[in-house]
């Protein structure tokens, strides 16, 4: 368990908690400020994206690795947790980022004769 490794007298759970709190604050602040503080330069969409995705990855790692103990537990648990990643990527790519007109433009062999498909 991670509590045996002390950093400045505190265990890894404490520091993980601090990191998670800090990055959550950073994430909310990034969206709260429409312009960079002290300037008139607007925060662009791509910067917000980069911050949200980057912070999400850091927070996800902190929770999974330390709070869920994947870092210290046998590798089989990490493999179990990562197993659905393939399906998640397939869903994000195949559904989430598919052609917006995908539902109506699917090949005929996978579109039943729905009224929905005809009228949409």
């Amino acid at each position: 368990m991670g509590e045996h490794k002390l950093i400045m007298g505190k265990d890894i759970y404490f520091w993980n908690f601090i990191v998670l709190m800090f990055f959550t604050l950073f994430e909310v602040a990034a969206v709260f400020f429409e312009e960079y503080p002290g300037t008139d330069i607007p925060v662009s969409k791509s910067v917000v994206w980069a911050i949200l995705i980057g912070v999400g990855i850091i927070k996800g790692y902190g929770i999974a690795a330390y709070f869920m103990h994947l870092k210290d537990d046998p590798r089989i648990y990490t493999r179990t947790a990562l197993f659905p990643v393939l399906f998640v990527i397939l869903m994000l790519w195949g559904i989430g980022l598919s052609n917006p007109a995908g539902v109506t433009e699917l090949p005929s062999w996978c579109t039943p004769n729905w009224d929905y498909a005809d009228t949409r």
Binding site: D11, F17, V55, G60, I63, A81, V88, G96
Partner: protein, 467 residues
């Protein structure tokens, strides 16, 4: 029943259950009386006054302008506008207290019923008759019908669910044409679920926790079966939330959001159904942005975040979601602290106020679990307050944006709520027999589920609230 410490708690169990149920109910009633009745009535009074003032001013200005044969002045329009906004703010303030009070009461009733029923059932049988013989060190699986009954109950509930809400609404309006057959199926399903949970607790969740079963074959050989099972469950949950997220992403790429519209205008990119050449030309010729006709799709974040297209977002609309994020992270930490304390054989009492609040290891584990329960309950209350505000602002489930938002965040909220019910059991156990290094698996495995719920929020919060 003998617990992990060999303490006899046969009579103590159900008396503690009744006492805890009573405490929870008292807290719920107090919160309801304070927030849902006293404060809400005060706010309702303010809202009614402002509403009257607004309508009075509206009528007065209309009469004045008809007398003078002219439109209302700019100053009068400003006054009317500000009063209207004050009235909306007063309405939302009233909703905050009312919804918080009612939610707290309903949750307290559920908690009290759950802990009362569970505690009573657990204490109603002598220890020897409790199902799986963990106390006796028998490791073989005894088999239980409860999961099947539970699944059957869910099937019945979902079968009747599509017409559940419609039938409830019709019944409230005394509409005899309501499809009560489907409502009955749902209600029978709910009853079956309750019976299955009660029976499961009764026969399969002993207070002792010794005799953890070990997997004997690949790939989890040598690992605790319950832990491996929980990870497989989490694996399936990842896929469930991935479907919500990918559906949202799929629809989001098609919606004409303010971001998509602005991006198209600024870069001169035509987007079918969103940005036309006429709009680009108007923008390039310097026409005021507000005057360019546009048909934007409003997402929840447009209502919640500052600068959102709905124009309603500010610090206060962001606050519930942000507080909920912090609440879940803190609750993840408190459950880690509960586990750490339970497993610490060399536990020593802290100095200062923490030592007074947590004089024994048992009390420390219990109090950390209670803190987790309180934070999770706060999450549900704030979630429903936020939903009530969104519905009042016009963002309801009737649109695709609203549908995916309420389904995804509602599914997450349901996971939190189910987790809170399990947490009640842990609080109850920590208060009666207590957790130690021998029987803390329950806290550890529940902690995995709770961290997963936190992890899901790490994705949902930025995707639905911030982006």
């Amino acid at each position: 029943m003998s617990g992990g410490h060999g303490a006899h708690v046969d009579n103590a169990i159900w008396m503690r259950a009744v006492m805890m149920g009573g405490i929870l109910l008292t807290i719920g009633v107090l919160l309801f009386a304070t927030l849902g009745v006293f404060m809400a009535n005060e706010k309702h009074h303010v809202w009614e006054e402002l509403e009257d003032d607004y309508h009075h001013m509206e009528v007065q200005f209309a009469l004045d302008s008809s007398d003078e044969g002219a439109n209302i002045s700019e100053h009068e329009a400003d006054e009317l506008y500000h009063l209207h906004h004050e009235e909306i703010a007063a309405h939302l303030s009233y909703l905050t207290y009312r919804v918080a009070g009612v939610t707290a009461l309903l949750m307290a009733i559920t908690y009290a019923a759950f802990i009362g029923l569970g505690g009573f059932l657990n204490a109603s049988k002598p220890n020897a008759e409790h199902g799986d013989g963990h106390d006796d060190g028998h490791d073989e699986h005894h088999g239980s019908a409860s999961p099947i009954i539970f699944a059957f109950g869910i099937m019945l509930f979902l079968a009747g669910f599509p017409d559940f809400a419609i039938a409830c609404k019709a019944m409230l309006n005394a509409d005899v044409s309501a499809d009560l057959g489907m409502l009955s199926i749902s209600m029978i399903g709910l009853l079956t679920i309750v019976i299955a949970i009660a029976n499961w607790w009764f026969e399969d969740l002993p207070f002792n926790g010794h005799g953890e079963q070990i997997a004997t074959s690949y790939p989890f050989e040598g690992e605790h079966i319950r832990k491996a099972g929980l990870w497989v469950f989490i694996m399936s949950e990842i896929m469930v939330f991935a479907t919500f997220f990918s559906s949202y992403l799929r629809m989001r790429t098609e919606w004409c959001t303010k971001w998509a519209f602005d991006n198209g205008l600024e870069n001169g990119t035509l987007i079918e159904g969103c940005v036309s050449q006429t709009q680009i030309d108007m923008f390039n010729s310097g026409v005021d942005y507000e005057l360019i006709p546009k048909d934007l799709a409003m997402t929840a974040s447009d209502y919640l975040r500052p600068g959102g297209a709905a124009g309603t977002g500010d610090f206060w609309t962001m606050l519930p979601g942000a507080v909920n994020t912090f609440a879940l992270i803190i609750s993840s930490y408190t459950i880690v602290l509960a586990l750490k304390t339970a497993k610490n054989a060399n536990w020593e009492r802290s100095t200062g106020i923490m030592g007074k609040l947590m004089p024994t290891r048992k009390a420390e584990v219990r109090n950390y679990l209670i803190a987790t329960l309180a934070l999770g309950s706060l999450f549900i209350i704030l979630k429903l307050v936020e939903w009530s505000h969104l519905v009042a602002e016009g963002f309801d489930i009737g649109t695709t944006q609203g549908s995916i938002f309420y389904i995804a965040t509602g599914a997450h909220g349901l996971h939190v709520f189910v987790g809170l019910l399990v947490m009640l059991y842990l609080v109850f156990k920590s208060d009666t027999v207590g957790f130690d290094e021998e029987n803390a698996q329950g806290v550890e495995y529940f902690g995995l589920y709770w961290h997963f719920v936190d992890l899901a929020w790490v994705v949902i919060f930025p995707a639905f609230y911030l982006y």
